[in-house]
Amino acid sequence: MMAAPMRNVDEIRDRVILGEFGVRNVHSTDFPGNYPGYDDTWDLRKFKKNFRLNIAHMDENTLEFDMVGIDAAIANAFRRILLAEVPTMAIEKVFIYNNTSIIQDEILAHRLGLVPIKADPRLFEYRNAGDEEGTEIDTIQLQLKIKCTRNTRAAKDSSDPKELYLNHMVYSKDITWVPIGNQADVFGDSKIGPVHDDILLAQLRPGQELDIVMHCVKGIGKDHAKFSPVATASYRLLPEITLLQTVEGEKAERLKRCFSAGVIEVENINGEQVAKVVNSRLDTCSREVLRHDDLKNLVKIGRVRDHFIFSVESTGILPPEVLVSEAINVLIAKCQKFLTELESSEME
């Protein structure tokens, strides 16, 4: 039941310790020359041997997976790229021909920009700086043309806007795609348009109308958050809880309640109630146990330095597993860019 204690050096290298007065061993220290008897030189074969991936949960828009045997510097690069450097298509230019609604042009334009647009960004190019027109390879044209009228069939005594007016709520489903050039043939089946139909964009009253043309372009989250392909992308380190002594009776019950549900269970062993760590993964690492003087020395709480539990939630433009692949490709492309630059600067 009690795990064999780790070697002191290994604990410093491989665990982040959540202590009573602070978090210890936060930084990676596995560099050549730091530890006698350890070879920390980069070794691809060793990396391949230790690296593991496991998908914990996947559905249409969310993905949870474990990435084990990699340093935080690289895992964090993947996370940062997911947030800010995987491209998507979003509304960038809004041409307002008519807007007699109560919502101001610039507010409406901003709202439109944030609507996720279902279009595969890999099939488009970035628009050149200064290009105001756009072409079929870099622009998606959308239109929003809607006018509110009175509902002549509404009951006389009705006071409900839903009955009284037609088109008084403008939703993202009212945005229509206007194919440019050969786009109708190329993307005919893929139905380009807003991901969600039910995003409220504006409210109108009879006589008010919107007549808007929009240009979507390819961009990245670093430029504007509307281009970010994820709702969230984050990771946490795998929690590790170790009992240093046998904990019995009332203490066992109290220890159980110090952690998230399902982390510690109390088992009946030969008539004694004994605490047992069942699933450390579920813990939130609240460190509540450190507030109990009689319990805090019976348990060690830490996190596994190289075990990342990633959680990626897509906005619905691309599936989350595609986003992760794209993010890794972005990092590879960055390296290649500087490698070719290094070659060419040495040629000079």
Binding site: S28, F31, P32, G33, D40, T41, W42, L44, F47, K48, F51, L53, N54, I55, M58, M67, I70, D71, A73, I74, N76, A77, F78, R80, I81, A84, E85, E321, V324, S325, I328, N329, L331, I332, K334, C335, Q336, K337, F338, L339, E341, L342, S345, E346
Partner: protein, 138 residues
């Protein structure tokens, strides 16, 4: 010629102090931040020929980083930078391959379990799934 040079946006610059050997170089990586900076620093520091490696973001409103490398025994810093970039590429490629392998395997098993479970009554969907599995097996 000079006009063309200034027009062309530099991606990578090398800054060396006067009299310093080629083992001590500050590389200026334009349009980069912690994403590449920290992961590349980790990889370069994994090289035993490197005495020191660190980076800084010059100013929040400037999109560039200063990436400093000092090597042991006068080895050119460009060599260690190249090795770092290559190692980071190798590691990323392995992560990508592992991930895509896992994805394909999961898709197949996922499809099979959907086929086998009786919850799926839509016949078209089942046929599509079957056709899809056949197409990967071939």
């Amino acid at each position: 010629m000079a006009a063309a040079d200034t027009e062309k946006k530099r991606v990578l610059e090398m800054v060396q102090a006067a009299g310093a050997d080629e083992g001590c170089v500050t590389f200026v990586l334009h349009e980069e931040d912690h994403t590449l900076g920290n992961s590349l620093r980790y990889m370069v520091m994994k090289n035993p020929d490197v005495e020191f490696c660190g980076y800084s973001i010059t100013h929040p409103s400037e999109s560039k980083i200063n990436f400093r490398i000092q090597t042991r025994g006068g080895l050119p810093a460009t060599e260690t930078l190249r090795k770092g970039l290559n190692d980071l590429t190798d590691a990323s490629k392995h992560v990508l391959h592992t991930f895509e392998e896992l994805r394909n395997r999961d898709q197949v098993t996922g499809m099979w379990s959907t086929l086998q479970s009786e919850t799926l009554t839509d016949k078209n969907h089942r046929l599509r799934a079957a056709a899809w599995i056949l197409s990967i097996q071939n």
